[in-house]
Every structure is written in C-alpha cells, then in structure tokens.
C-alpha cells in the first residue's frame, strides 16, 4: 500500500477538539430544540462562531483566505455537526464559498467572517439533483426556480448554479422572490423564484464535483446523527425493563439493532473511502461514484435508524420531549436533502455505464 501524508489525521483531531464551541459536549440539545421554527431556523450568533472557527472556509483555497483542507476533514466536521443536530446551514455555505472561489471571484471577506451569510442554491427539482437545472440564463438575466436551499430564509447572498457556471445574487435583487417552507425538524427550506434577475454569470469548472462533495459532507452528517440516535436507543434498550428484564435482552430487538450497526459500518466505510479517493485524487470517476454510493447508504441508514429508534422506544419515542424524536425528525427531513435516493441510483448507474463504455 502506498503511504500517504497523514496531516489529515491531525487536522481531524483538531477539528473534533474544536467542535465543542458549537456542539455541547454533554450532548445537550436545548439550543437545537429552541431553535426549531425560530427566525430562519438557525441562529445568527452561532453562525458567527462557526465562521470564526474557520469551518465555512474549510474547503476554500488558501489563496482565497480559506483553510484548503480535504474531504476527510470536511466529513469529520460534518459528522460532528450531525451528532449535535446543528441546524446552521454549514454545508451550503462551504459549497457556496468553494463555488465562488473556483469561479475566480475570490471569497468575499464578509462571507468568511460570517457577517454576510452566503449560501448555495443548486437544486432544480424535488427529485432531481442536477445543479445545472432549474434556472436558465439569457441576455444576462436569470429565470426559473431553485428549491430546497437549506437555511435560505437567513441568507444575504445566494450562489446560484447554472449550466453556464454560477451567478452571485443578493437576496434583495429585483425579480428574486424567496419563499420559506417550514420542515418537520423546525428548519426552513427556501424556494427561489427568478423573474428576469440581472446577474453576471461566471464560468465554474468542477461545479458538479463540488456539489457532489457537499453530498458527501451531508452523508457524514446523516451517518453521525444516525450513530448518535443509535447510541441513545441502545442505552434505552439497556435501561428499559418490561416483563422483568431489560428489553435489550429480547432477541427480536437485538437482531434489528445489529442490522442498524451493519448499515452504520457500511456507511462509515463508504464515506471514508470516498473521502480518501477524492483527497488523493485517485480515479476521479470512481471517486464520484463512491460519493453517490456513500450518500445513498447514509440516507437509507438515517431512515432505518429513525424508524427503529421510535419503535424501540415505544410510546416515549413518539413524544416531543424525548430527544430521540429530534433525531428521527431530522433524519426524516435530511435524508432527502443533497441527494434523493432514486436520483442517486440513476446517477450511479449512468456513471457505471459511462465507465464501461470508456474501458
């Protein structure tokens, strides 16, 4: 095996050590709970802290004032956020900065410091994750719609993906309408309607790859929230007694818990492999396929864990006051973001065929 520089290991350790600034170490979800349905669904003060930690610039080139770290670092960060159910749209902001920086527009200082909130609007349809879809350009005017912009109600600037590249559009640009849809986890997704919005279009090489990278980060978020929900559920199986024994003694539940463990390890392995391939610039085509695979696995894992966590908790799992419900709702909502199952499989099989043809 090829030896590799293991800077990333140290980076990940440092990132993980710094997570406490936003994710309470005692696992408290009080802030997350109170943030639900509030304002834009996330907290501007926490946003500033996140920006100060440099997390938003994690994937931005060092020349542009970023940290220039790899995907293994980025996925480790997002895993930490997922464990804590952090509602701030960090992945969207990382993507937005990466797009702007790749398009040669530099990275706006205010977006790096968190003074302005700059988010990516990349998705065109509810079940179609093609970043070139949804909005068209002609004569320097944008028309169409982008949907599912996480945290979009709180954004100052949108980075909009197009077939021709990207456009940077302030929220109050004439002709742009931003509508919020509240989700069952207390966040809001924004829908952006463009009617002859004037904007400069910048070519952006690698745009699709960057969106896929965001999918991988989101996969890590999903994996980690599932892992935490699983831990809470295992604790419950150890503690809850019925028929004079802890319910974790029942084999019916043990087998299903083992299934979650299996899916969890598959997701972890797939995410790790995809990150490694991308960071080492190994076979880019295969690396992209690995992302799709990892994201697909993580979505299935999140949904499975949500279902089982509620079921194994019994009635208490169906209450708002038990934290497990926060995980279940987050899983249900976010398993459909940054990739939709059928589309992920469609993209994967298309890439597989391309590969076969090329060989």
């Amino acid at each position: 095996m090829q030896s590799e520089p293991d800077d990333w290991v140290e980076n990940v350790r440092m990132l993980e050590a710094s997570l406490g600034a936003v994710v309470p170490e005692d696992g408290s979800l009080l802030r997350v709970r109170e943030q639900r349905g509030n304002g834009a669904g996330f907290d501007p003060t926490t946003w500033r802290i996140i920006a100060e930690m440099g997390w938003l610039a994690l994937r931005t080139k060092e020349d542009d004032g970023g940290l220039g770290l790899g995907l293994r670092e980025a996925t480790a960060l997002c895993a930490g956020l997922g464990r804590g159910l952090v509602p701030e749209p960090v992945i969207s902001a990382i993507l937005a900065l990466r797009l702007v920086s790749a398009a040669g527009a530099g990275a706006p200082e205010a977006a790096l410091t968190g003074e302005t909130i700059m988010l990516a609007a990349w998705q065109g349809g509810a079940s179609d994750c093609d970043p070139t879809a949804g909005v068209t350009v002609s004569d320097g005017r944008l028309n169409g719609r982008k949907i599912a912009v996480e945290g979009g109600l709180g954004a100052d600037i949108f980075v909009v993906t197009l077939a021709e590249g990207i456009a940077v559009v302030p929220k109050d640009a004439p002709g742009l309408t931003v509508t919020g849809q509240q989700m069952h986890d207390g966040t809001f997704l924004a829908q952006l309607d463009f009617a002859d919005v004037l904007a400069e279009v910048l070519p952006c090489a690698g745009m699709t790859t960057f969106v896929r990278e965001a999918m991988l980060m989101h996969a890590a978020y999903l994996m980690a929230l599932s892992e935490r929900a699983f831990e809470i559920t295992l604790d419950y199986l150890r503690m809850r007694k019925q028929f004079d024994v802890p319910i974790g003694q029942f084999q019916a539940l043990q087998h299903r818990a083992t299934e979650i463990k299996l899916q969890l390890e598959l997701a972890r392995a797939a995410i790790g492999a995809a990150g490694r391939m991308l960071d080492r610039s190994e076979d880019p085509h295969l690396a992209q396929m690995a992302i799709l695979r990892a994201r697909s696995r993580a979505g299935g894992l999140a949904r499975l864990t949500a279902r089982e966590a509620i079921q194994m908790h019994g009635a208490i799992g169906y209450t708002d006051e038990a934290d497990i419900g926060l995980f279940a709702r987050k899983a249900m909502v976010s398993a459909g973001l940054y990739g939709v199952d059928t589309d992920l499989r469609r993209q994967f099989s298309a890439m597989r065929d391309e590969r076969e043809k090329a060989q």
Binding site: M183, L189, K241, G317, Y318, G336, V340
Partner: protein
C-alpha cells in the same frame, strides 16, 4: 347558532332506525354516503391529527341527534345495531370522506364492555351519558412501567368503607385532557398472580386528587397525557364486573377490536394519497416507481382479502383465532411502507410541514402518523410473540 356554541347534552331526535343489516351492502353504502354528505358539519376533513373536543363537538352533536353515534350498540340501547360487515362499510365511508374521528372511547370501548359486563344501573347511567355527550371517556391502562407488560401495572385501589382510594399514575392517555371520565385498570390485590389482582374502575376526572399533564407528541400536538391519582376517592359501585376480575374483562374486549384494528382503511387511504402525490411529482408513469407502487397495491389487496376472512368469522360467530394479530402486523407495517414511499416520492420536500388545509398530502406527517400504529394496541414485536406462541406450536 354557530357551530362552536353547540354543547352537550345532546338529545336524540330521529325516526326509528331501519334494520340496516337486512339491507344489501350497496344500498347501505349509499345510505351512509348520503348521511355524511347531508350532515357533516363545517369542520376540517382529512386531517392526520386528532381534533380536540371543541373542534369535533359539532360532529359529535350531529351523530348524537341522528342516533349514529354508536354504530355497534343494539338499537334498543340507542345504537344502530350494525353487524361487523355493515360497521366496516360505515367506517370505510367515513374514511373516504375524510370525516374527523370524534372522541369514541366511550362508544367503541366502554359501551360494549358495559353492555356485556355492566349492571343494569351502570348501563342506564353511563350509556345514556355517552350518547348525550355528557361523558367523554379516556382509556387508562398504560403506566410508565407497564406498557407491553401491562399486567405489571402498579396503580392501586384500596378499599376504605364505601370508597376505593386510588393512587398511582397512568400515561399515554389519548385525548385524556378532553375527557371527564376515565376507566382505569388498578391493582386491588397484591397477594396474587399479577393478572389476578386487577380491577376495572370508573373514575371521574374532576374528582379531587386527579391531575392531568398534557404531552406533546412527535407531530407537535398535545394528543395524549399523563394522569396522576393522589388519594382519589371513588364510590365502591364504580367498578365493572367482579373485584379482581378486570384483566379478563379487558382482554375479552379485544375480540372485535383486534379485527378492526387490522382494517385496511388506513393503508388504502394512504395508497390513494401516494398515487396523488406521484402524479403531482410526475413519476406516476415512471416504471421504477410503478413497480414499487404495484407491489404496495398488491399487498393492500391481499391484506383486504385476509381482513375479509376475519370479518366473515365475526359475521358467522366463528372463533376469531389466536392468529388475528397477523392482521394488525400486516396493516400497520403496510401503512408504514406506504408512508415511506410517499416521503421518497416527494423528494427533497418530503419533510415539509403542511397546514391543516393541506395536511392530507403531508408526506412527513403521514410518516409520523404511521409510527405509533406499530406501538399501541400491542406492539408489532409483542404481536409476533403472541402469534408465535399461540398458533405455531413451537417448542417453549
């Protein structure tokens, strides 16, 4: 008169019911449809959440006045006297129209129990008050430590002269905050086998020492609650059946219930909504989606056939059989799979939280609403245990 100032007592004022059971099914179905269309008040339809008493009261009032409140009770006792088959048609039509479910613990659970085991005086008093809407009942079985293992319940009633003194806690009581009466399984003898020392008590919620705390559920509605009993004194006569005979009675009640809880209507209505969502999302003709949809459709049809075989047993009075739990397992899991597919089809917006007006197509709401169906009324795991033990003849 506005609909919100309609309050109990409601009095029945209707012509005598015909013998509905003698009608051909199609004719009865038409009667039910006409009834709903003429009488359904101006309240929401097709909700995933339960309406609270103030909201559903106009519908209760209509049902009470027309004599449609208690479909399965004998006509002589103020019911419609429907047999299982006709009752099913009634339920299907309510479901199709999207009628709000009213507070029905009194008509569905307590009424039949009193008709079978209550004294004449209890029937006269309580059945009348259910029909008039003066008594809204809640079911107080579960406790924090007694869920699947219900017989482990610890709420205790001690005899003190002419009273029972009740202490303990019940939980997950659906719509308990709307009820003025609750029936409670309480321990009246600690010296015997767990199941043998339990009695069935009728408790006014207004009695001193009763406290209620509402609990918000995962859909964000305060639909169930905890009820605490602190030295609550209730008259000695507020017991149904024998002292220490509550367990057998509570179980006996499950016969009819067990079949109806497996009725395919929740799945059927969810599947229809899935089709609607799929058409909206433009995947209705997508062969990949249709393959999955067709599987669900076939599953539903098979479930309906299975359901029919149990209804037939009810109709003919044949024993229902210990494997009736299969129905509930099948129905609830199918409902959950359909809700999962809804979420998939709605893609990134599947998790959207809709309002009452659009709740019908709330995919995540349906997903959430489908969760407890595998938990209450005997969890899926416990049902599987029961079927395995009772009808597979495996080594112990």
């Amino acid at each position: 008169m506005t609909q919100t100032d309609v309050q109990p007592p409601f009095r029945a004022d209707h012509a005598p019911h015909p013998d509905y059971n003698a009608m051909p099914d199609a004719e009865f179905r038409a009667v039910v449809r006409h009834f709903i269309e003429t009488h359904y008040p101006d309240i929401p339809r097709h909700l995933l959440r339960r309406l609270r008493w103030q909201e559903v009261c106009p519908w209760y009032a209509v049902l009470a006045r027309t004599g449609w409140l208690a479909p399965t009770w004998p006509q002589a006792l103020g019911g419609m006297g429907l047999n299982a088959g006709k009752h099913l048609i009634l339920i299907e039509e309510y479901e199709r129209f999207g009628c709000a479910r009213m507070h029905d613990i009194g008509t569905v659970m307590l009424g039949p129990l009193l008709i079978q085991f209550g004294t004449q005086a209890q029937q006269d008093h309580y059945l009348t008050r259910i029909l008039s809407g003066e008594d809204i009942w809640a079911q107080g079985y579960s406790e924090p430590g007694a869920g699947s293992d219900l017989a482990a319940l610890r709420t205790e009633a001690l005899r003190d002269g002419d009273h029972w003194v009740l202490n303990g806690q019940k939980t997950w009581i659906t719509l308990g905050a709307d009820a003025n009466m609750i029936f409670v399984l309480a321990r009246t003898d600690k010296s015997v086998r767990k199941q043998a020392g339990i009695s069935f008590l009728l408790v006014p919620m207004e009695a001193p020492g009763v406290t209620v705390r509402e609990i918000e559920n995962l859909e964000g509605h305060a639909e169930f609650c905890e009820v605490f009993f602190d030295n609550v004194r209730i008259p000695i006569g507020n017991i149904v059946g024998e002292v220490n005979g509550g367990w057998a009675m509570a179980k006996a009640l499950l016969g009819h219930e067990r079949v109806f809880i497996g009725a395919p209507r929740l799945s059927a209505s969810a599947l229809a909504r899935l089709e609607e969502i799929a058409r909206r999302e433009g995947v209705w003709s997508d062969p990949v989606f249709r393959d999955r949809f067709t599987q669900l459709e076939m599953d539903l049809a098979d479930l309906s056939d299975l359901f029919e075989t149990y209804v037939e047993r009810l109709r003919t009075g044949a024993p229902i059989g210990a494997d009736v739990g299969l129905l509930k397992i099948c129905q609830s899991e199918l409902y959950q799979r359909i809700s999962e597919e809804m979420l998939q089809v709605a893609g990134s917006l599947g998790g959207a939280q809709l309002t009452d007006a659009t709740a019908r197509l709330d995919t995540a709401g349906t997903w959430l609403a489908a969760r407890p169906t595998t938990i209450f009324g005997g969890s899926t795991e416990v049902m599987r245990n029961v079927v395995a033990r009772a009808s597979l003849d495996l080594p112990k």
